[in-house]
Symmetry: D2
Subunit: 410 residues, 4 copies
Amino acid sequence: MLTVKDSVHDHVEVSGVAAGLLDTPTVQRLRRVRQLGTVSYVYPSANHTRFEHSLGVYHLASRALDSLGVAGARAERVEAAALLHDVGHGPYSHNVEDVIHRTTGHYHDDVADLLAEGEVGETLRDHGLDPARVARLVDGQGKYGQLVSGELDVDRMDYLVRDAHHTGVPYGTIDPGRLIRELRYVDGELVLAEGNVQSAESLLLARALMNPTVYSHHAARVAKAMLRQAAERLVDDGLDPAGLRRMDDAELRVRLREHEATAETARRLDERRLFKRAVWAEMDGVPEAVRDADAGRLRAAERAVADRAGVAPERVVLDVPPAPSMRESRTRVVVNGETRRLDRQSPLVDALRAAGREQWRLGVYAPADSTDAVGAAAVRELGLDIDGALVRETRTGLQGRLDDFESAGP
Amino acid sequence: MLTVKDSVHDHVEVSGVAAGLLDTPTVQRLRRVRQLGTVSYVYPSANHTRFEHSLGVYHLASRALDSLGVAGARAERVEAAALLHDVGHGPYSHNVEDVIHRTTGHYHDDVADLLAEGEVGETLRDHGLDPARVARLVDGQGKYGQLVSGELDVDRMDYLVRDAHHTGVPYGTIDPGRLIRELRYVDGELVLAEGNVQSAESLLLARALMNPTVYSHHAARVAKAMLRQAAERLVDDGLDPAGLRRMDDAELRVRLREHEATAETARRLDERRLFKRAVWAEMDGVPEAVRDADAGRLRAAERAVADRAGVAPERVVLDVPPAPSMRESRTRVVVNGETRRLDRQSPLVDALRAAGREQWRLGVYAPADSTDAVGAAAVRELGLDIDGALVRETRTGLQGRLDDFESAGP
Amino acid sequence: MLTVKDSVHDHVEVSGVAAGLLDTPTVQRLRRVRQLGTVSYVYPSANHTRFEHSLGVYHLASRALDSLGVAGARAERVEAAALLHDVGHGPYSHNVEDVIHRTTGHYHDDVADLLAEGEVGETLRDHGLDPARVARLVDGQGKYGQLVSGELDVDRMDYLVRDAHHTGVPYGTIDPGRLIRELRYVDGELVLAEGNVQSAESLLLARALMNPTVYSHHAARVAKAMLRQAAERLVDDGLDPAGLRRMDDAELRVRLREHEATAETARRLDERRLFKRAVWAEMDGVPEAVRDADAGRLRAAERAVADRAGVAPERVVLDVPPAPSMRESRTRVVVNGETRRLDRQSPLVDALRAAGREQWRLGVYAPADSTDAVGAAAVRELGLDIDGALVRETRTGLQGRLDDFESAGP
Amino acid sequence: MLTVKDSVHDHVEVSGVAAGLLDTPTVQRLRRVRQLGTVSYVYPSANHTRFEHSLGVYHLASRALDSLGVAGARAERVEAAALLHDVGHGPYSHNVEDVIHRTTGHYHDDVADLLAEGEVGETLRDHGLDPARVARLVDGQGKYGQLVSGELDVDRMDYLVRDAHHTGVPYGTIDPGRLIRELRYVDGELVLAEGNVQSAESLLLARALMNPTVYSHHAARVAKAMLRQAAERLVDDGLDPAGLRRMDDAELRVRLREHEATAETARRLDERRLFKRAVWAEMDGVPEAVRDADAGRLRAAERAVADRAGVAPERVVLDVPPAPSMRESRTRVVVNGETRRLDRQSPLVDALRAAGREQWRLGVYAPADSTDAVGAAAVRELGLDIDGALVRETRTGLQGRLDDFESAGP
């Protein structure tokens, strides 16, 4: 058994298959992948990595299994899945995933491969565990998969607290100790025991508060979109997407600097000279064709906007996030002896869903000196009906660094 | 200037009139009044006092005034009001206020007197401040009174954070530094600047989460109701209500032990042998006559229930809290350049109001061995239409100490 | 099993005999005894109680027993001792202990009685535990007694962290999780495993920093000495010392107010009008006869000083603390395979001992307006050779409230 | 003015010249240089950067200047120096500094150049500040330079607290708020005001505890020495040392991977397959010629040891840290009205110096399978007289990951 000191959970004790997995290159790579990607442009102390998060998820999984009375190979499988749940992430976490998936296909297959091959596969098999079954747990399948990836998973419990700790934002504060103690299985489903409607709501609220303040802060979104576009360019120019997936943050960063077509973007990212918002519009005024466009169409649209605005293509970035979901709303809680979905029980769910929907924004970004031209071009090219809804920085007075750093608003 | 070390704000610097006021017996008494009254029965580390809270409120007021550019006598008046805002509280904070007010009349007059008389009045006048004007600020009147008592007051900002720190409950986490920096006056009204809808929502959510988990935890409510009834008995038997208001926690506790009619309740409180819930009913099934009853009527009802159940009158306690309010919903925020009330802006307000209303409960409490008899008697005597809504401990499986300590549920 | 939320250890799970003991009046009384007595005069947020501390000590004991592989009745006995270790404390913790012991004799006997009688004795016996054996553990006797009261006891691990949390002073920061994991038994002695010299030193240093800043802050000492003298007076005037021991803070406070001879002191304590230092002298210049005097002699000396100064006897308080000890210096650590005492291993021990000795002070306290007269009288009456060493407040410029609140110095 | 959210100081307000400097590429590069270099191999959450540390130092400098009453251009100069004090650091902070300095000469000149040139120089001059004077402050020269680099500098106050926060080690806990408030200038020297001997000691103790536990943890030292050797190899093979200095962590990492002679070391670092200790010896038994050897001699010795052991040269790393210094011992404190150096006042200084000296170790590191051969070769080649003092991992039972992660011991 080894003990790791963690800034969030204090001491994490690692034993069994997890201790073996920790030493594999696949898991060690997570030390070099930031948990929050470009969020550190907004919150400079948010430099924590997927590695410490994975340790935290493993720790909470162990405690949950203990509390649920699950032991033996079954527990080891879940613990392995918890520790490995993020090994499929490319550099900068979620930031370049789309680029990877576009060409490599289904995410689950990637992970299944990563778990079956090399030292990870070996270690799992040495401990009598089947990599394919572990991969299914990572994917959230089956009774115990819910613990790793589901409405009440320990992933969420770790990242909310950890991201709050490292950004300094006080909103991710849930009570993992209580949540874990109150987990139960009812008819094979993971639920919270009687008397925990509010515990369930706290998960929901933490996410609802962290989303606009941290995860979707506009400056982090701008940097992420710039990074995504540059990574696409690397792939267009010959980089193997599977190789991109195995990089760490350092390698992607250096590649971008060295490649001619992305060097300017790399320099901008290095010097924090981020693009500004040319359009920042509520999704209500955005045509469905744009909202639902796939990666190919979006890139074509980017180029068309650049063309119309008369600027180089890499000076326009289009950012169309998927519709906000709220997985936590399907959390199940026992109320008066029967299992209920949180959205059937709590009036907060609909309210938070509405609030999330209102914060859903399309962004078009460009260098400060061409936001006007690019904005106008985008409105026409994309057929935006944003009349009063066009929210450019110049109109909302959001410029200035206060906003860049921590404003929660649009 | 003197510096006080505080567990929440670290160093609090006290100067000017506040330094003088700190040394008065009136303010020193607050050292001996617990901030959360009977909540420490549920959260044993919640023993913080009105004194440290008052220092915290003073500290935040100073910073807010600074940030708003208010100085001089005007600022001193607000700082004095912030430090003094709780001097009118009787022992056990809010727990016995009703008893006091029932006979002494309007709360504001009490405070105005307390501020005008003795060393407090002298100190205020020595610094050129009019006690009556300070009292009006305590009451939330006028432009600057909003800072002391209003939707965006510093009182709330301190207690949410402080109560979370001392209970260990992670839900009171707002960001006072940000809130204070974003305060503005628009047309004489205290508002949050552009881009702070979510900051305003965070205040609301913190309260919404702390309410059932901490402030209205049922065990704290039981103890509070027992204490209230016993204090009423003291007054009935000759104690001057004004004297009750000037007591500290210690004196009330000892008086209850020494007085024959309240000795048994005092012993129960000392040994944490709290009454149990005989009825715990949603307010929807409670007749309006009961909901809106004044103190006299409630005591009569208590006695009638005891009578019908065949138990001694001090073995039945009726607990009818006022309808949940949500003052924070009227918070004003600047959105796109105009001032809006939060409840017009955020879908969360209505949802939280609905949630609060659902948690609103009538309680009838009795010793464990007579909850059945008292429960049945109360249903009839009070005309409760609670059919399925009657939630006794025996039916919800809420007994046990887990619940006593931290359950958020009914 | 029940779960208690604690501001220091988060969730404390209580089961077995401990759950039974928690509900006894003897343990519940600890809710009403402040952990740090008069220290809250200096650090206003230090209002935590013996109750939450006892829960914390129980929690750490459970974890230590787990880590040491001790289970069954043996473990239950230690857990009971951990939870009960402070039940012998009178009101205001250590502050009035001397008064009690002076007349009731040996402390251990008191505790043995408290553990054998009433609900505590019953509960212990119900769980098959012998109260006398538990009392011996409380006393630090035997192999497992070291865990409860010894150089490496869990008592110390809890209070250092808890007192730091509640005062806001950042110096009590040890790492209980690591210390507990590294505990071992070698030849029946509790030691720290290989590689923990520094862990042992951290305990020592935390105490060395907390002592002058918190535990022996002069303002806390003044208040404590005033309280001690007043309690003595109560006993002189007929209060049964055994009764004093069973009081809570509230009762002592009210008794002092109600008794004519102590009413003035009670009022001073209520209003924080503490005596000032008339003499504050290094112990080197204090005759041995004074240093080693017993309670009776000290009180005679107090009266003689008052007499000589021409003030009423209750206006002079003499404060002669015992020589500083450093129990942690005898901590045993495994170094290169053999057990060594920390003072044989670490050069810090002697240095800290010297530092502690230098901070050792005799205090004579009096109302502000008679410090000069009382100081001069004390120098003569006690035969102090303090020439340059006489450190009165007027000479060190220590007046003012900054010092009162948090100065660590003399 | 802009506001940055920091995980340690909460809100940091940046204005004036500092706001301009923040946006320069030179300062932005610090976002990509880890504060603790290879310490994250031991404490996985220690990923904070020089950037957030620099903001923290700026923040504390501002508060100190405020408290000292320094304003205007003088204050701006100090604030600029505080923000810029680390821009001269190469990648992995202190880890490869030696490599850089060996060939580029005096560190101060580097910094003076960095401050005079490019956007930094421009920004300073735009605000009417002379880069050369700012560089002298960074160097600790002059009355105000002491605030930036000296015994009582704000650099130290930030990193002790920040490193504790991010490692999770509870030992760096000083009280920056108090220290800053107590700073004074006496005869042009920065001192702590009367009553602060213990505040000064707390700085010393925090460093003394953090050193072995964090800064000099052996696993961090092994990785650092491997990195240093590999960087030397890059320079030998043609990399411009000045270029090395301007790299960020990412670039150095990728360069090491891509260069054939360092690829194996890079892979080891990526996979955390660190060398093990072949020799770990107290410096007392190490010949002076080795202790005082310059970089060239050490590299020759490394090669000679490898030769003698029959392994490739990159498989032996020699680690000879400089003698432990204790700058904090020269801290000046006012005691009874006169300024004294802490080492003249506190017995702790000598004890800590002795303790530090005892922890001073020579390390020779090699892959696990050749520690025996390399150890024996090193003992002979270096003429080590380490008899009983030879502490190899196999003899102390220190293998295992517990030690790798957090043991404070040898």
